[in-house]
Symmetry: C2
Subunit: 305 residues, 2 copies
């Protein structure tokens, strides 16, 4: 039995996988007080599934990962700013020797490629639009990592040089237009500037969740419609550039924001991409991710298989 | 002895290569009247080098190439709109059986990687800014082609969604800002709109060559300075996106326009890229192509080796 863990900023999602079947899953909140607490919570989530004979654990984590040493070097979303030897801590806490660690987006990409929306594709980009926007790239059937393991950072590709500022400080990045956190900042800025929007009415002082964007859009809110239209255009521009640069025939679009906005959002991106392809007849499709919330954990299990 | 031929829109450049030494070269104008005339001119250029014992010929050609069949499917710059079996025509005209054909930008990329500015690099993008803007991508030490052989079309990546129109009809493409033909169109548009520029004074009704941009820039012409600054920014934005998407540590910049504008232009792009990297400390360099005008022909010879 292999266990996969998706270590997110707010929750730890664990699955137990037998072959390609998910036989159990469990979810716990992510502690905010460092590596030991996180490792203990991961062990608790695994124990909560009540499965026997766990032989290996795979973990997908956000931030900068040193795969070879199983270390999280930096992960602002986990409140980790110094190096944490996560595989060793989890091995001790869970009593399992074989623990491997990788970037959360890479494992989710592998999951979509092996068991999800990209099965059989040779050249595919998987993009996850949630709090931020990340991606993974399968070229010639293999996950590309690149010289520094940075491949797939499509959220930080430039769609409008001189445009909106990204959370990373860069200008005109895709994430500035299609990441939930940047969309929230823009909605509040517009609201403060005098444009009333259901987005702020619904969210109040709390985080403006992806579901809030879906609700505001459904009520015909103008600001929400405008922001989502810009997100669609930005995703399409970034995808058109990716197709021109590396030649792809499939793009998988997932993540919390894409999931909440649903199939019409993915279809709108597909249409907007078609209008931007440099060879209009190219067969390139944008399809929704198939594994949903469990994709990251399933991919982590595949990593450990 | 291997012969390489760079078949361009205005000239045919041939080289003879022994091992990695270029032992002869010759240049002829490109005929405008179809495949048979082009094949005859290629044979003439090879004969003009006066080398004995030619065992194979490699050809790099612009446009859409069917490598497997040695056919040029479409090449507006060569006045070819229907399929031309170029390798067979050249084999007959030159009396050499082994003739291979590939895209001109791919062969120039291979040449820079094997003998030029990118020797030893594992992950490098070679970009040629001339009449248009094309590129080739070496990933993990190998030229990437992609499912349709379209990899490297960086000229048609989007740097400013909603921006300037490209020759291909697309909006905000790199080539619209950094391709000589688009720069000429923009200069004439500005001139017609009332902005006097040395670019139009120097070119008159003739083609605005890359050397005209270099001259106008040297005289302090404002329009030329503005257009070149926009070209630098657009190249830097496209390169920053390429680095984020596929993780590169080297970018080689060549082509007629880059060569005429010289090292200060390449250095300006390198600086502008640094300001746009999503991880500012990344070691990524932009360097000038090393093989100059002969790069394409040398790459074609390598292809046939």
């Amino acid at each position: 039995m292999i266990v996969g863990v998706d270590l997110g900023g707010t929750k730890i999602q664990a699955v137990a996988v037998d072959g390609t079947d998910v036989v159990a899953d469990a979810k716990l909140p992510t502690p905010r007080d460092g590596g030991d607490a996180i490792a203990a919570a991961i062990a608790d989530a695994i124990a909560a599934m009540g499965v026997d004979g766990v032989t290996a654990i795979g973990i997908g984590a956000p931030g900068v990962i040193d795969r070879a040493n199983g270390t999280v070097l930096r992960a602002p979303n986990l409140n980790i700013s110094a190096s944490v030897p996560l595989t060793r801590l989890v091995a001790d806490a869970a009593g399992v020797d074989a623990v491997v660690l990788d970037n959360d987006v890479n494992v989710a990409t592998v999951a979509e490629h092996r068991m999800g929306a990209a099965v059989g594709a040779r050249d595919v980009l998987c993009v996850f639009a949630g709090t931020g926007v990340g991606g993974g790239l399968i070229l010639d059937g293999e996950l590309r990592r690149g010289p520094r393991g940075l491949t797939g950072e499509i959220g930080h590709t430039i769609v409008r040089d001189g445009g909106r500022r990204c959370g990373c400080g860069g200008i005109g990045h895709l994430e500035a237009y299609a990441g939930r956190r940047c969309l929230e900042a823009e909605a509040r800025r517009l609201h403060d500037g005098g444009r009333e929007t259901a987005l702020v009415r619904l969210a109040g002082d709390r985080q403006m969740k992806s579901s809030v964007f879906a609700k505001a859009l459904a009520t015909g809110d103008e600001v929400a419609a405008e922001l989502v239209r810009d997100a669609v255009d930005a995703l399409a521009a970034a995808f058109a550039s990716a197709v021109a640069l590396v030649d792809l025939d499939l793009i998988v679009l997932g993540g919390g924001l894409a999931m909440k906005l649903g199939p019409p959002f993915v279809t709108a991106v597909d249409d907007a991409l078609r209008a931007r392809l440099f060879v209009p007849s190219l067969a390139v499709r944008v399809v929704p991710a198939a594994l949903g919330d469990l994709g990251g954990a399933v991919g982590a299990a595949l990593l450990a298989s």
